[in-house]
Symmetry: C2
Subunit: 130 residues, 2 copies
């Protein structure tokens, strides 16, 4: 599908930079990437977009739902005195975490671990808000 239409649909002005990025990113394949890796890809294609613009664009794309950001709990490291395996509620209003004991969550269906790998821990994050 046309990238121009995609941008117009979400009311983002289709600038050279946004068209270039959208063509790289929104090709229908599932990808995970960072601002830096995208900038390198742009570079490889013989173009140049400033890092500020990359961030501006990606953040706009997130705002309009063309992309999402993988959940981080903010930008500071959070330490936890509960060192045993457990899960968390994340209060989206405050950023506060609350423990969920592992026996509070069980699975009736669970994906096959990819061949050659082993399960190294499962963490469930339940986002809540009031």
């Amino acid at each position: 599908m046309d990238v121009l239409k995609k941008l117009r649909d979400v009311k983002l002005r289709p600038t050279k930079q946004r068209i270039l990025l959208a063509n790289l990113i929104l090709d229908g394949k599932n990808k995970h990437f960072t601002a830096e890796t995208i900038q390198k890809e742009v570079s490889t294609k013989g173009h140049n977009i400033s890092l500020a613009t990359i961030y501006n664009c990606l953040n706009k794309f997130v705002n309009v739902g063309l992309l999402k950001q993988i959940d981080q709990q903010g930008e500071v490291t959070i330490f936890d005195t509960n060192v045993s395996h457990h899960h968390h509620f994340l209060n989206q209003n405050t950023g506060e975490l609350t423990d969920i004991e592992p026996n509070e969550i069980t699975f009736s269906k669970f994906p096959k671990i990819p061949r050659g790998f082993q399960n190294d821990g499962v963490e469930v994050l339940i986002k809540i808000r009031d």
Copy 2:
């Protein structure tokens, strides 16, 4: 239980700073905190520990298993072209994320959402390694 013994058990020299921190942190209650918030608590108690030392100590505590760090996927923002609700494998060897479709995971037991709050999304992270 004695904080001196706790430190000796994990072969950390019980310095003034570590004793102070251990007394604040390792009181048996489950807490989530940051380096900065702990430094403020120290301050409130009329003491002072440099931020470098706070980080040094907390990181040591993590290394010996007295604390753990809440999972962040590194320190850079990761964007995802898959904007629908889904889960992830995290390859611990490479840091790479892979999508898990939400119908691949179902729960047979799920915790009650705290009173006054509503469920705002569930994310499962399955850590794998080879």
